[in-house]
Symmetry: C2
Subunit: 392 residues, 2 copies
Amino acid sequence: MENFDFYNPTRIIFGKNTHLEIGNLLKPHAKKVLLHYGGQSVKKSGVFDQVVASLRNAGVDFVELDGVVPNPRVTLVREGIQLCKENKVDLILAVGGGSVIDSAKAISMGIFYEGDVWDIYAKHLPVSKNIPVATILTIPAAGSESSPSSVISNDEVKLKKGYTNNITRPLLSVINPELFFSLPKNQIANGVSDMMSHIFERYFTRTLHTDLTDALCEATLRTIMRNALILMNDPANYDAWCEVGFSGNVAHNDMLGLGRAQDWACHGMEHELSALYDVAHGAGLAVLTPAWMKYVYKENMNMFVQFAVNVMGVNASFRDPEYIVTEGIRLLSEFYRKLGLPQTLGELFIGNDQLELMAKKATGEISGNEHKLGGMKRLGWQDVLAIYKMAL
Amino acid sequence: MENFDFYNPTRIIFGKNTHLEIGNLLKPHAKKVLLHYGGQSVKKSGVFDQVVASLRNAGVDFVELDGVVPNPRVTLVREGIQLCKENKVDLILAVGGGSVIDSAKAISMGIFYEGDVWDIYAKHLPVSKNIPVATILTIPAAGSESSPSSVISNDEVKLKKGYTNNITRPLLSVINPELFFSLPKNQIANGVSDMMSHIFERYFTRTLHTDLTDALCEATLRTIMRNALILMNDPANYDAWCEVGFSGNVAHNDMLGLGRAQDWACHGMEHELSALYDVAHGAGLAVLTPAWMKYVYKENMNMFVQFAVNVMGVNASFRDPEYIVTEGIRLLSEFYRKLGLPQTLGELFIGNDQLELMAKKATGEISGNEHKLGGMKRLGWQDVLAIYKMAL
């Protein structure tokens, strides 16, 4: 196990009706709140009105900013920063999924930063001051509700950049699985794929002696898969949503990645798909992950045998490790298919023409900031291109 | 799953040499520290001198209070409160195991409480102000290094009382598994028994639909057992200590108990043994837990079958659930035996004579504060007496 330093102070308020308490939860922390959200879905579901009523009943003043889109844009972040400054906002309440929360995190840092907020993401600047972010989660997927990370897209330069800083872990997050009942099946599937990938990126490692986190990763992956299949047939199943919602949080608060080298190649490769084609992150990951596995598994057969047996349920007594691994990857693809997720880049309307460009962007060849992706196998742009081609 | 509200802001600094950084870790938080510890063991090991050097190098001033014993006494806590007040101490650094940390937590609350600190424990008073506690863990067992709980003993009234309050979660805890190398085998065994019990108390539940926390509990229990056996033969095995040390922390930060009714009958019954006979907590738990299991398993066969199969590795395909459960309990006892832990109250020099008194104390019959113990089966004093007798 490697040394680690872990700090996750986000308070999680989980369960039925919990979002109705948001006013009382925020009152000790805020005089004026920015209520940040996406579009019509929180209004249609009634959540918006319930949140507004709870804030008013508690006497918490607020201003609104809607319009967050998937792969949230820096342009709206800039607008939010301006609005917060003008209104002396001292806390941002994100009501939505990962995109809304990520947008809120970017705004929270931009308020105190003199220059353009995009610089924080583009140059990974060390920021030490922000205002607190609270969240009401309406889509479990990104894990941003207690992670220290956020991802912002910039259309001008066609880039999507992640940024990690413990100061952006939310103050508190409300997770009420009832709010997930109305999610369409493709969004459930994308979310499940995203949270599973957050675990895969931590699970596949070259670090030895990681018994506890190995087992916690496997436990969480099995829980997600079992309950995701229940939701495909019964999307208003509260118990299954509890498991998936809670697992999605655990998947990305970094508990599961402590003391081990992490990978993150699939996320790096997928960011290019989202930046160039605006595909859903979870859909892109479902296409790339099995291709990545096939490309790298020979580098660490033991790890992939363990995955196949402990996560995918392949019988460990087969004599041929190669068969066990291949069968594990096949079962993962089959699971994605059951969720209606795409299997190929073609299904995402992505052809051969931009693959080399994306591979070179993913590895910094274009920007002159060359780096390899991943930890299980260090991937140069030719490796990334090969994986994209396997996923065609 | 039940609703929950979880907040664990303790920063964990884990790994080799981490305790050498304690001065720099505390400097931003403290002007004057109470250095609180037990006795000679931290001096013999050299840890005391390293901590003092680190504090001095960082320019952190401190006063000392040693003399904490297992089942820490309120008398020393009172002394610590006086010392902190006189010296304007603003942070307590506990260097030791659960007893030292618990003593530090009690002192941290007593500083601002006008009356006798014992009242906080005896009457479960709602305390809202304390000074921060930091810890350097030298014995992994109690999980107090990030738990909100502490247990204090009072010799005058022969009582041992627990108290839980999120404000007593430490500010930060340093866990360096190298510091565990010199622990004697009986202390390793007691610690392992204690941390396993922290999980059992959460795991055995009547709450349904708890897939994730079930699996996380099972994963952590298996990790502890596998690595504890390694330590019995090789007590300076760093990798095994990493797993046991990390697991002991996870076992009691309450992550594993979220959204489920918890039990705590074995802890309640064991506290009476420690209070009256001053036995090691882990040893008492190793005696009582299998007896408790035999007494209650028929109340929830499914839960105990799951335990036997997923934790103890009993073959699930046996047709007789009764056999599966009994075999699981037998294997747990066998595991305790391999660790050299006692199997009976007799081995702890506890006879028949005080059992009824302890059973009545455990259930508040004596103090006029009658209550039943446990959640899996609600235990009155006659049930507790029956379990004590089964453990004779």
